[in-house]
Subunit: 194 residues, 2 copies
DNA sequence: TGATAAACGGAGAATGTCTCCGTATTTAAA
DNA sequence: TTTAAATACGGAGACATTCTCCGTTTATCA
């Protein structure tokens, strides 16, 4: 009886699997950017030169694929939170970061599914990004709260949801501008009156 | 040569057409409420007891159907704006109406397309509802601005977009609560400091 | 080098959208 | 009434998309 246990030594992942994964991500990124969130998955597979089965094995759902495509950008955004927290006033850092967030979602023009995964927080599967994002904004907010600038009865993610709404629901050419204006409204709205 | 002109007297619309239209609307409303925005159109037609062709003749696109389904509620909401403006303080009226708006979108859990049509304002087709909605909120805002309570550099629709974002992007059970909290943040954010 | 786990790919089932057109029904004129 | 013309009906089927299944291929490791 051979060992079939959990102790199985991790075998090195197959080279072709890694290659295909990367090709799929590149192709998908281009496809989403060009055709929007509804881009055909089979076509992405074909363009990437793999079968549909391969795509679905790597990314079981459309959301999973989007999540993976944007994980990079998400990580950069999360990193920025730490940097800002170290170099700016509490409220200033929060404001700056929210502006970065607006850029982040504007780049995904109308990619509702992706936003929902990342900022929604309801989908079990993508909790990784959501969790990171949540921690990033929570850190900025709690710093601002501690400094006495900001009320504390806020769900930080709600700020992001509001911005996502403004930036993506209209998706007009000035959606981004509008979202940046909204940042100031939000900041003013959560500030404690002096 | 018979008259083939534009002067053709309007013929009374066929009774079966009217009946089917209504049945389709009722069925669609139930279907959207139960299965969300992706409900199968063919199934709606089948449930309503008509052929697919009939559905598509009455409502050429999914959006057209949604628009029609929600036109009623939209009209009620618009009417409420006038009523509130007549009976409440400027800021109070605005706040009340935004709360009603939250109920309005919460009922459409995740019906992104519909929201986008109605609050987005980019789709030519649904400009009727958008226009009404815009006028309703604009009236409330400008009253508040006139009273000196509120800044005037606001696109009124942005407030709605923000609320839609909070209420629908997460779509969690407390999305509605969150949106109601957001109303207060927004009101505070657009208020002029005293 | 050979055994075997891992990955591949694409045919095809399932589902959905939307069109086309022969048939049926309604209206209104005679 | 009867009848012709206008209007609406419905569902078969063309087409697109998602996703699964499984026989075949390939990389890893002993």
């Amino acid at each position: 009886m051979v060992d079939e246990g959990k102790t199985a030594i991790a075998r090195k992942p197959r080279a072709d699997a890694q290659r295909n994964r990367i090709r799929l991500l590149e192709t998908a990124k281009a496809a989403f950017a060009e055709k929007g969130p509804g881009a055909s998955l089979d076509e992405i597979a074909r363009t990437a030169g793999v079968g549909a089965g391969t795509l679905y094995r790597h990314f079981p759902t459309r959301d999973a694929l989007m999540e993976a495509v944007y994980r990079n950008e998400t990580e950069q955004l999360v990193a920025a939170a730490t940097r800002l927290a170290d170099t700016q006033s509490p409220t200033g850092a929060l404001r700056e970061w929210l502006l970065l967030f607006v850029d982040y979602i504007a780049a995904k023009h109308g990619m509702y599914e992706a936003l929902n995964s990342i900022v929604g927080g309801t989908t079990e599967l993508y909790s990784a990004s959501t969790e990171q994002m949540k921690r990033a904004i929570a850190k900025l907010i709690s710093r601002a709260v501690a400094s006495g600038d900001v009320r504390l009865d806020i769900d930080p993610l709600d700020l992001l949801r509001a911005l996502a709404g403004v930036a993506s629901i209209s998706a007009g050419p000035d959606g981004k501008q509008a979202a940046k204006r909204m940042v100031d409204i939000l900041i003013a709205g959560i500030r404690i009156r002096t």
